[in-house]
């Protein structure tokens, strides 16, 4: 799987025009990940310079929250398992709060990283693409909030 195919198949950037998708893919840096590697750690402070958006190219990444569980006691709850084309780190790009969840590699593969400073610099080099990317990030957050809302209502019996 190539990075551009992962981006094209992603809910985040899947509807970008091909030319913009190609430009965007060149801003990502790819790297291999090994099983058990912690890519994001819950509670960590977000560093404005070191922060990034991650997209899975190959393998799988679990989004996990550690703490009190709804059923009682405490432990690790897996909220989602992400595969090729799925993104994480979106909320931290816009909200400078400690990480709400950990992201742990559960199946080795490769990820693509878009540094926040690269994204911020895009506004000077390609404003049209910068606006498309920001729009895509906002849409992802809206989808996440809708899912969260649905899960919350189900739990509350509403």
């Amino acid at each position: 799987m190539h990075l551009i195919d992962s981006l094209r198949g992603s809910s985040l950037f899947g509807d970008l025009p091909p030319a913009q998708l190609d430009l965007l893919s060149r801003l990502f840096v790819e790297r291999p990940v090994r099983g058990g590697e912690v890519l994001v750690r819950q509670g960590d402070r977000v560093h404005p310079v070191g922060d990034a958006l991650f997209v899975v190219i190959e393998g799988a990444v679990a989004v996990q929250v550690e703490g009190p569980l709804p059923a009682g006691g405490s432990g690790v709850e897996t909220l989602a398992v992400l595969g090729p084309g799925d993104a994480f780190g979106v909320a931290s790009l816009v909200d400078p709060a400690p990480r709400a969840a950990s992201c742990v590699v559960v199946e080795p593969g490769r990820i693509a990283v878009l540094a926040r400073r690269t994204l911020d610099a895009l506004v000077h080099s390609d404003l049209a693409l910068a606006a498309r990317v920001e729009h895509a990030l906002a849409r992802q957050l809206a989808r996440d909030l809708r899912v969260f809302n649905r899960r919350l209502r189900a739990r509350l019996g509403l």
Binding site: A91, L93, A138, L156
Partner: protein, 172 residues
């Protein structure tokens, strides 16, 4: 077009100059609602973002008021960015005027005025991210239980939890 931008756009256009806010305003549609009138009903399709210009909106879920949204604050950003059924009913608490932005207008803004569109979606994103964080934090707090209360207060819990998802940004 108005000579000066509406003060209601201060928070949404926080990264924009007055001239840019005026341009943004040109892409918005002004609408008025009488007290108690419903802007959108839970479960029904909703047009998009409503920035309160004058008055106050009330956000209700299952008939329970969860949030009040005043001038400069907005509702409907999820409907704008991820079209689907409204997750709450929005009603005018008093006679109110709103500035509306629907998905088609946002798409035009992204294509024609990328700088303005980028600033607007960033403002929306930071509200969405903050709500996601607050809602997930609340989930953890609830699990801890409240000392002595037995923790068995579903309506109050449901209300306070949900209100974090709908806690409209307070206006200026």
């Amino acid at each position: 077009m108005d000579p000066t931008p509406s003060p209601a756009l201060a928070a949404l256009g926080v990264e924009l100059t007055p001239d840019e806010r005026l341009c943004l305003q040109g892409h918005l549609r002004r609408a008025s609602f009488a007290a108690d009138e419903v802007l959108c009903r839970e479960g029904e399709a909703r047009a998009g973002l409503c920035v309160v210009e004058q008055g106050e909106l009330r956000v209700e879920v299952g008939g329970v008021p969860l949030a009040h949204v005043g001038p400069g604050a907005w509702v409907g950003e999820v409907a704008l960015l991820d079209p689907g059924p409204a997750s709450a009913t929005v009603r005018a608490a008093v006679d109110s005027t709103v500035l509306e932005l629907d998905a088609a207008a946002l798409e035009r803004l992204v294509a024609q005025e990328p700088h303005i569109a980028r600033a607007v979606v960033r403002a929306l994103s930071s509200t969405l991210a903050r709500r996601l964080r607050q809602a997930s934090q609340h989930g953890a707090e609830e699990g801890e239980g409240e000392g002595g209360g037995g923790g068995d207060e579903p309506p109050r819990t449901a209300r306070s939890w949900l209100s974090r998802l709908f806690g409209g940004r307070r206006g200026a």
